[in-house]
């Protein structure tokens, strides 16, 4: 049986309104299913919506039942680029009617108290998590990053659970919230890889390979560089739940709860998997779905880009022109874009013929096919795997940008 505090009991009994009662009922069921002993206070939730019109019935019911988010809650992209709606549109189209529906679906979470960030990198923009903090987020790349790099604790929760956690401010204690489930289970030995020339795509390809190898187990990487940038850590985090079902990784010295390999594994001797450049190259072949040289689109921004990435793209594009047959979309949050506008990066990207898009998912929700794209180059294994209805070329940001200029793919791997 799940132990409930007096306040949680009151939520379940309906004393806090119908929405809180329904949400608590669902969380108690989850706790029961996973034999959780109790619920914990939740620090953060991240919610999304927008695939099925029937969802509206549930959001209406929650609102009428007094739903109001009790923990800090942010909103995933809702698919409207307010500056370029006609040009970017949504996967369902770019008409004013579609925009209105997307607006309405978004409005519910806003009314319930979400901070409308419109991004998957909420953890970089004020959703501040520290070691041990609990969260329920949509978007697996953020979940892996928060567990592994921030030392926060969350499961790969579904969209309904995200809302229930937000509404109650409580989270069932099971899975990744418990110490015993967070230990490393497989040792990934990277010592044969020379990381000096490693690109963002190389890190992504390596992680894509590792996700496949470990399945749903937790890897610990050894032989990695001692210092990794934010962007490199994200490139590692993002594909692990795409090719596998990995909620977390350890890198001793970086992962907060893993000062050493021994601590990461809880002292257990681990199965060892050696990885080398052949594995990385094989992952490239698997991520790319086409060998065509001529492309019509380049999409970079899954996950959404950081300040550093936007600046580097802008500097590369400065004075160049995107090929007339190619569209270039660079995706981030609109908070980052405000800074990019001020810094002049947006202007450099736009003068070259590219578009800095905001509030758009560049992965599963990428509308590029609906805008006519067929062959798309990306630096993101996640984007290549999830973006519907297009073929993908895969390589580093640099290779993608060079292809955007020349109109031809010259990726080296």
């Amino acid at each position: 049986m799940v132990f409930l505090t007096k306040e949680e009991e009151r939520m379940l009994n309906g004393e806090y309104g119908a929405a809180t009662q329904e949400a608590m009922g669902i969380l108690v069921k989850i706790a029961e299913a996973y034999d959780a002993e109790r619920l914990l206070p939740a620090k953060s939730a991240h919610v999304a919506a927008g695939l099925f019109p029937e969802e509206i019935e549930w959001y209406e019911r929650l609102l009428q039942g007094g739903a109001r988010f009790r923990c800090f809650t942010t909103r995933h992209p809702w698919g409207i680029d307010y500056e370029h709606f006609e040009e970017v549109g949504t996967v369902y189209g770019n008409t004013p009617e579609i925009k209105q529906i997307a607006e309405m679906l978004f409005s519910y979470s806003l009314k319930m108290g979400a901070v409308p960030m419109g991004t998957c990198i909420q953890y970089l923009l004020g959703d501040f998590l520290m070691r041990g903090d609990t969260f329920s987020w949509t978007g697996s790349s953020g979940v892996v990053f928060a567990n592994s790099v921030l030392g926060a604790r969350g499961n790969m929760d579904g969209a309904v659970t995200n809302y229930c956690v937000a509404i109650t401010g409580r989270i069932p204690e099971y899975g990744m919230l418990l110490d015993e489930n967070r230990r490393a289970q497989v040792l990934i030995d990277c010592s044969r890889i020379d990381f000096d020339q490693f690109t963002d795509a190389d890190y992504g390809a390596l992680a894509f390979h590792v996700g496949k190898v470990v399945g749903n187990e937790i890897p610990v990487f050894v032989g990695m560089p001692k210092k990794l940038t934010l962007e490199q850590l994200r490139a590692i985090a993002s594909p692990l739940h795409v090719s596998g079902a990995v909620p977390m990784f350890h890198i001793p010295g970086i992962t907060p709860e893993a000062p050493s390999l021994e601590v990461a594994s809880g002292g257990e001797k681990l199965e060892k998997v050696q990885v080398d450049m052949n594995d990385v190259k094989a992952a490239y072949d698997e991520i790319a779905t086409t060998g065509e040289e001529k492309l019509d689109m380049v999409c970079i921004g899954c996950p959404h880009l950081t300040y550093t990435e936007i600046r580097e793209i802008a500097e590369f594009l400065d004075g160049k022109k995107v090929h007339p047959d190619v569209k270039l979309w660079v995706g981030t949050s609109y908070q980052v874009k405000v800074v990019a506008d001020r810094a002049g990066w947006t202007e450099k990207i736009e003068n070259a013929g590219g578009l800095l898009v905001t509030n758009i998912c560049m992965g599963p929700g990428n509308p590029c096919a609906a805008r006519g794209a067929r062959i798309v180059a990306t630096n993101s294994p996640r984007s290549a795997y999830y973006t519907p209805k297009v073929e993908h070329l895969f390589g580093s940001t640099r290779e993608c940008l060079e292809a955007a200029i020349s109109g031809r793919w010259r990726g080296k791997r």
């Binding site: 009922g25 099925f52 929760d157 659970t161």
Partner: protein, 138 residues
């Protein structure tokens, strides 16, 4: 022949129907057509078959966090399964079953894949966690 199995009822309610059984994980987003209830995932064990109104027996859920909404939409469109029996409960399918009010049972005392075959007639009682299997005539 009728076999009675005990399990754990996680979503209450009674339902009955023809069994459809898959040992493979199922994603309701992208894997099933919400307008028809037909499994459309390429290469899936039950590709081309309908789960509408049936007792769906499978291992566990996979795929995106939007699965619960797909299940809810299917219920509203009349294409959802009548009940679900899972080998291992996974939070995303469970929350979908709760939202869509689909009786849901796990932890059967015997391996459901050894007892239930597609085409058997199955009665599910989510209140008591009981499953009654009427074997099809072979």
């Amino acid at each position: 022949m009728t076999i009675v199995l005990r399990g754990r009822g996680l979503v209450k309610g009674k339902a009955e129907g023809e069994a459809i059984v898959s040992r493979q994980p199922i994603s309701f987003v992208g894997g099933v057509d919400p307008d028809t209830g037909i499994v459309i995932e390429k290469g899936h064990e039950i590709e081309g078959q309908s789960i509408q109104g049936k007792v769906l027996v499978f291992t566990f859920g996979k795929g995106t966090t939007y699965n619960p909404f797909a299940m809810f939409a299917m219920k509203k469109r009349g294409t959802a399964p009548a009940a679900i029996i899972n080998l291992k409960t996974e939070e995303i399918v469970l929350t979908g079953a709760i939202l869509a009010e689909i009786p849901f049972i796990d932890r059967l005392e015997r391996d459901p894949f050894e007892v239930i075959e597609s085409g058997d007639f199955v009665k599910v009682d989510g209140n008591t966690g009981t499953v009654e299997v009427v074997k099809k005539k072979s």
